[in-house]
């Protein structure tokens, strides 16, 4: 015996899964959820009743990608979605523009400067980007290294408060 599934039921189920994924932290920057990071591409309830979740990697070689996949699998299994499929979506590629406004606020509060510009402008890589210090809000900062502790971050220091900080790469 199967009940009739309405569009409203499907929407509610998908919303419930989005909320569930909103609780899955990024393993490298745990103040961010994977939804804040913008790497959940879709939650889709197919006409066959099967649920699928689309994930996209941030950087091709980011070691967190597999940990994230495992956390999503565990979250889905624990909430009765053991049959759900997890798909890898490569196109369009993730960029820092996919960070949500909530994600940007959480990064800044955590002490990581969020990306300063949009990557849609191809000049952003070579332009003189000024990064705001997440601690004292000074604009007098300088880049120490293009690379930091994870693929998504660069290393900066503030000339005003003298503190080093991470900058979430605009890429």
């Amino acid at each position: 015996m199967s009940a009739v599934i309405t569009d409203a039921d499907i929407a509610a189920r998908e919303r419930e899964v989005w909320e569930l994924l909103g609780e899955v932290p990024d393993p490298e920057i745990p103040v961010l959820s994977i939804v804040d990071l913008g790497i959940v591409r879709h939650v889709r309830q197919g006409s066959d009743g099967r649920l699928s979740v689309g994930l996209t990697p941030t950087y091709s070689g980011c070691p967190a990608t597999e940990v994230i996949r495992g956390s999503v699998r565990a979250a889905l299994d624990a909430h009765g979605h053991a049959a759900a499929a997890i798909e890898e979506v490569l196109s369009p590629p993730w960029t820092s523009d996919w960070l949500t406004p909530a994600g940007r606020r959480k990064l800044a509060a955590f002490g990581i400067a969020p990306p300063e510009a949009s990557v849609s402008n191809p000049k952003h890589l070579w332009g003189a980007t000024v990064v705001t210090c997440p601690r004292c809000a000074s604009r007098a900062t300088e880049r120490v290294s293009e690379f930091g502790s994870t693929p998504c971050k660069a290393h900066y220091r503030c000339s005003a408060c003298r503190e080093p900080f991470d900058y979430f790469k605009c890429l």
């Binding site: 091709s60 980011c62 070691p63 890589l125 690379f147 502790s149």
Partner: protein
């Protein structure tokens, strides 16, 4: 299969083989270069550059994973990225010979990286328009990382080339020594021609013109001289490598060769 059917299937079979070879060339080039960069971990001149080279290596190995996974699917013999990376011998690797050249000093690594980055920039930019949607997606993903790598390597090229007399002399020597491997970057063979014919890959002559202009501009900014083109006897793309690849593979494959199927 009737003879007529076999004849009709033959062009597709050849195309299929060419695509496999083409994807392996891209994947192997990223993998071997990434493995080379990984040798720097713990040895770079400063902690920041150590992290920088490791980050480049990570992106390149990530790109290699995407490409080799795809190659395994094209091949259809149930070889995954790991089987392809760890269980092939040197003549079955089709990376550009430039990628396998030893690290040398930091300046030499930077020159090799800058040459490879500027090559990948052209190839991935064009591959975004590939008629093969999987390659186009991988290229778009890899391109944004490559741009960042190029910013790093070209920045260091200028700093070292236009730096002290010692640093200038060392990077010029590296440019002179590595230049003979650049001939292979844009030398098209029947695999490339087949890929171009069906719109999967860009014509290498167009990419070469862009590459050459970019490289000249960077050399000028770094006060370095462009060496004359030289003939080369290696054809990494065809599995004919310099002696160095064997040593890279010996280290990279040691664990899987000693304990087949080991996982962690």
């Amino acid at each position: 299969m009737s003879r007529a059917v076999a004849a009709a299937a033959r062009p597709d079979r050849a195309l299929h083989e060419a695509l496999l070879r083409y994807v392996l060339r891209l994947g192997d080039t990223s993998l071997v270069l990434g493995q080379r960069l990984g040798e720097w971990v713990g040895h770079a001149p400063t902690l920041e550059e150590d992290l920088g080279l490791a980050n480049l290596a990570l992106d390149l190995i990530g790109q290699a994973r995407l490409l080799l996974t795809y190659a395994g699917e094209i091949e259809g013999r149930e070889r995954d990225e790991d089987a392809l990376a760890y269980l092939r011998d040197a003549p079955e690797f089709f990376n550009l010979a430039l990628a396998e050249q030893p690290n040398g000093d930091f300046g030499c690594t930077i020159v090799r990286q800058w040459l490879m980055d500027s090559w990948q920039l052209e190839i991935y930019t064009s591959l975004q328009e590939s008629t093969d949607s999987r390659l186009a997606a991988i290229a778009a993903k890899a391109l944004k990382e490559t741009r960042y790598h190029y910013r790093f390597s070209s920045g260091w090229l200028v700093r070292l080339g236009d730096g002290t007399a010692e640093s200038h002399e060392r990077v010029q020597r590296a440019v002179d020594e590595l230049w003979r491997f650049t001939g292979e970057l844009f030398a098209a063979d029947e695999v490339d021609e087949r890929m171009v014919a069906v719109g999967i890959a860009p014509p290498l002559s167009t990419a070469e013109a862009h590459w050459s202009a970019r490289v000249d501009e960077d050399l000028r900014a770094a006060s370095l001289k462009r060496p004359a083109a030289q003939p080369y006897p290696w054809h990494g793309k065809r599995g004919v490598h310099t002696e160095h690849l064997g040593y890279v593979l010996a280290e990279m494959q040691h664990l899987q060769r000693t304990y087949p199927g080991a996982r962690w």
